[in-house]
Symmetry: D2
Subunit: 365 residues, 4 copies
Amino acid sequence: MTATAVVEPAHRALATKHTTMKALVYHGPGKKAWEDHPKPQIAAPTDAIVKVTRTTICGTDLHILKGDLPSCVPGRILGHEGVGVIDSVGAAVTAFKPGDRVLISCVSACGKCEYCRKGMFSHCTTGGWILGNTIDGTQAEFVRIPHADTSLYPIPERADEEALVMLSDILPTGFECGVLNGKVQPGATVAIVGSGPIGLAALLTAQFYSPAEIIMIDLDDNRLDVAKRFGATAIVNSTDGKAFEAVMKMTGDRGVDTAIEAVGVPATFQLCEQIIAPGGVIANIGVHGVGVELHLEKLWDRNISITTRLVDTASTPMLLKILGAHKIDPKRLITHRFKFHQILDAYETFGDAAKTKALKVIIEA
Amino acid sequence: MTATAVVEPAHRALATKHTTMKALVYHGPGKKAWEDHPKPQIAAPTDAIVKVTRTTICGTDLHILKGDLPSCVPGRILGHEGVGVIDSVGAAVTAFKPGDRVLISCVSACGKCEYCRKGMFSHCTTGGWILGNTIDGTQAEFVRIPHADTSLYPIPERADEEALVMLSDILPTGFECGVLNGKVQPGATVAIVGSGPIGLAALLTAQFYSPAEIIMIDLDDNRLDVAKRFGATAIVNSTDGKAFEAVMKMTGDRGVDTAIEAVGVPATFQLCEQIIAPGGVIANIGVHGVGVELHLEKLWDRNISITTRLVDTASTPMLLKILGAHKIDPKRLITHRFKFHQILDAYETFGDAAKTKALKVIIEA
Amino acid sequence: MTATAVVEPAHRALATKHTTMKALVYHGPGKKAWEDHPKPQIAAPTDAIVKVTRTTICGTDLHILKGDLPSCVPGRILGHEGVGVIDSVGAAVTAFKPGDRVLISCVSACGKCEYCRKGMFSHCTTGGWILGNTIDGTQAEFVRIPHADTSLYPIPERADEEALVMLSDILPTGFECGVLNGKVQPGATVAIVGSGPIGLAALLTAQFYSPAEIIMIDLDDNRLDVAKRFGATAIVNSTDGKAFEAVMKMTGDRGVDTAIEAVGVPATFQLCEQIIAPGGVIANIGVHGVGVELHLEKLWDRNISITTRLVDTASTPMLLKILGAHKIDPKRLITHRFKFHQILDAYETFGDAAKTKALKVIIEA
Amino acid sequence: MTATAVVEPAHRALATKHTTMKALVYHGPGKKAWEDHPKPQIAAPTDAIVKVTRTTICGTDLHILKGDLPSCVPGRILGHEGVGVIDSVGAAVTAFKPGDRVLISCVSACGKCEYCRKGMFSHCTTGGWILGNTIDGTQAEFVRIPHADTSLYPIPERADEEALVMLSDILPTGFECGVLNGKVQPGATVAIVGSGPIGLAALLTAQFYSPAEIIMIDLDDNRLDVAKRFGATAIVNSTDGKAFEAVMKMTGDRGVDTAIEAVGVPATFQLCEQIIAPGGVIANIGVHGVGVELHLEKLWDRNISITTRLVDTASTPMLLKILGAHKIDPKRLITHRFKFHQILDAYETFGDAAKTKALKVIIEA
């Protein structure tokens, strides 16, 4: 075995000669820049380097920029969503080769550890949500993807890249944490508290199971209008503090079978506690910064379940099939489009959603 | 159709001529008496009158006596557990006839309503936990059982009545609210917080599923000794406030797959929040009087479930089969025995468990 | 209690004075008549008498007329589907009163026996499929419904009676035996072998779960055209004996996740054996008259399941909610309409479906 | 990076200098030899070479020797069970290093393909049951294990190697194909048809779920005696052809909830068809050489399931935990012990089980 022969499989690569690239780098609370950064290199035989063709911004990125996530340190490239083209792969990667178009999952999974073997990729002992968090992310011209064989998905032929960007995080999150955990069933009554991008993703994917009613609750009339167009059967503006009364009236004082929390603050979780019917499920999607009061003195005998979940993206193959069958149109979530060099504008637009009515923004190479 | 012919099926009865009986009557907070009371009569065609041969006292009875349950008003006969003999049945009762020996379920179920059709008998729209709560109960010589066909169970031949009294409430409660809701699995690690009667019932029934470890946590060394004899693989006395550390050490810092809350106070529920492993289930059995702090800021991404449940007794047929097959010995829960006329002593013994080491007391006709 | 008072609850009735009625009576193989018949009477306190407003004919009725079902003896009124109005109720009926509009379930359920308590109403020890089989059925002006409280459903306000007739049997059969048993999932590939009324009911209800592909297989181009309009994503005319090859080609040689057998002959079941993918489910709906060859020498290591089921109608409440939410339009199954006095024409039309293109026929009072 | 540095991770190895080894080689129907054979080499970066310390013989090995499995060609080393010590690993193996003690799974799993991601390792597109079938197996001094990280398990400290050999195939097979697929539940009635090693493995593992009754059926009184000692609650010698009648009598004419087929011939499968209760499951474990008659004319309305499965060994981590907790003693299956050089004697003893009463034989290095 010669050195040449060894190097080749360890670093099978397109003839890309770049050594630097542009990237969106976090520089501590309130600070970010689109700047030059060394291009990532294969670090383990299971890595792939992906040339990013499209990415987006997540509400979590805004949290990081506020300084809420100590796991993400200054100097980190942000972003955990996107699609792209394989630039190079490590020697142990068998499912992909340079030139392949791929969907990047927001969760990296080794496929080997105790959690991965249960399909709980979010808690992979060497993966989970690390992109744009504990390692560099996708808001860059190139990104290193660990455990590439089990963290990337081949893009189906003729697929629409913009729609696919929605499958990196937001759709599996709404579906797994909200719809699957919430056990949405045909004929059921569902309430979704929060009509932002993630609540709307839950709304779109809840319809896979044909619930009879989907009640959407938010403070913003524009977002409720969007919800109505996306399939909500009823909307409630909770500004008046009477969402509980409204939902109970709509459900004949029974409450809802599934309450999906898609905001992440105590008030919205407690609304879920109030409106849940006996035997129902409260499925939490929201990222909470503080604890909430759980009214066990009222709930102990109500036969309810409460679930939490960091998305596992275990449903990605299923979502790809549904997308391929045109049973869902995730592009409806996209409101704005930018080029990579406009990414600071994209952040501004996304960060001021109340004014810009932004849901998801696409950032294109 | 003659009046005589009609009266017969409406009130098929043993030739019992009693019009009064003895009963344990609640007279407001702190007050109770074993006193004369009118014998109950068939009030609906689906009723049965049962002559009680054995009953017991539940922790909930003590709560009522403290005045904690406004639904139970003075004048009420207490008790929701017991076995007995059918004295008379209403015209629509088809499964039982006078003289049949029966197990009384703590939950009454019509078998017809939306909840009953789902097996969620606890929320039966005309039943649920009503005995010794909103209607007169079983701590009496006779008790009226509504919806008799679906709320009583024929006692298997040669069955031990004392063992069966444990199937009225405590075993199905430990099993359904703790073990089934907690998804106890072969090879799993389970913690049960609270080694009182209900925690011990969860301990006995958890073993139906062969978990690898069952860690029992309590403040009382005597009860922990009992737990050890009943099959706990480890015990933790939490008096030192270090139960969390102890459990994490026992589980290699992983936590437990199932945490069963069998006390009903904030501290024990919060211990469950601390010790639950990613992907685990916290199954609440405890009757809570106040809310608890749910640390969603720590749990939102842990993929856990929290369940609550009022026992449905849907598992009673299964438990009867297991009892018949000698796979469980519920009499191990019985520490003291009394006659009906000694019921005030029974209450005293049961109420002072720390001193008397009482678990369940049998009260015999 | 006076005799008058007793008679009233035992036979609460509208002031209908009929003692005879018209009914479709089976008189042995090949023989039937629309003739005078004594009006049914309350026979048990749980009975109701229903005035039938609309009924239909099932393929099973044709089987009976061929003499295939020995359980159904000459003299029997046929029919197990329909909607109507409560005429009178027995003393123990609590959910309905004369004048109530009701849906009649094809399966009678006591709600009490071991099977009913599991939701397996089809095997109710005193019910199951008895209407128009072992007791008189619904193709008559009046029908006696045993176990009325748990075998009838209140008709929602403003509901369309014709659509509801489809909920007596054909929709729950397609849904429970085909879709639920077949574990149809979002994104899955489903094949339905048989595009008759029952296969089409499976097709309509399979869409509750958003499968990616539904391949419909039949010998009749007209029925395949209907399937296409009802949502099939692909159709296969199996007349050429090459359905297996066609399905494997469509699925990239993988086979289907769910194969629903909706015919009831060996050839169609064996096609399901051939096209099922590893890990898939064959859900049998067909009523089989002879055994089939199960190729365990090929299937033993394929991780498949095969299910059989007599409809339980446990899903009727769910189907009523979905119908109420306009998520399904079962009237699409109705091709012909008749009056009661034309019922023999209705049989002729339904029995010659190849020529008349009949799917379901409505027979109206 | 130097050539030396590269070679090291690609072939991290103990200083074992062997180039040949002894192995049990299949030479066509009826022919086998314990002979010299080249020692296996790392062929892919995910491979490991394991020095076998203990192996055993499976009934499938006897089938191969009869010429029943065309996939296994002459020249193949047989065997798919065993424990050993890692001798060397490929560059991409991260979970094991030379010197580690490991359990060898009978099923190789890549952990990446569509089937592996569902836990259906048996159908891994580059694995499945290949050892001793399509690639060389474990009845040799050394064996090459593909996809080592996801096909080997670290052996817990102080574990008993003989017990662990039972976890390569027979225990997960009995558990997954029989007990899990058969949905064995607390209080249930189970019949196991076939009291050979695999039926006995199902018997041992069925007890994880505390069924009320386990009826063991076989033609051999010795094996039924073993079953009795292993926990069967009843035994039936079916030599008289009256097993059906015996089981129905034992179950009050109801039949069994779970029937486990552990033989693989039409007669035993058809007995399962006869004894299954409505709502029950027939779980096939047997390897069938011919088709069987499925009596759908009797079963179509019985609400039963039939399952088939090639073991996935997805339950191995669970079984390791149960073994570690001493909830099962798989060594009870071991009847004979041999050294590697006596492997032909081991085959003779195992092949003549009726006379030798052999269940599982251990072959030790």
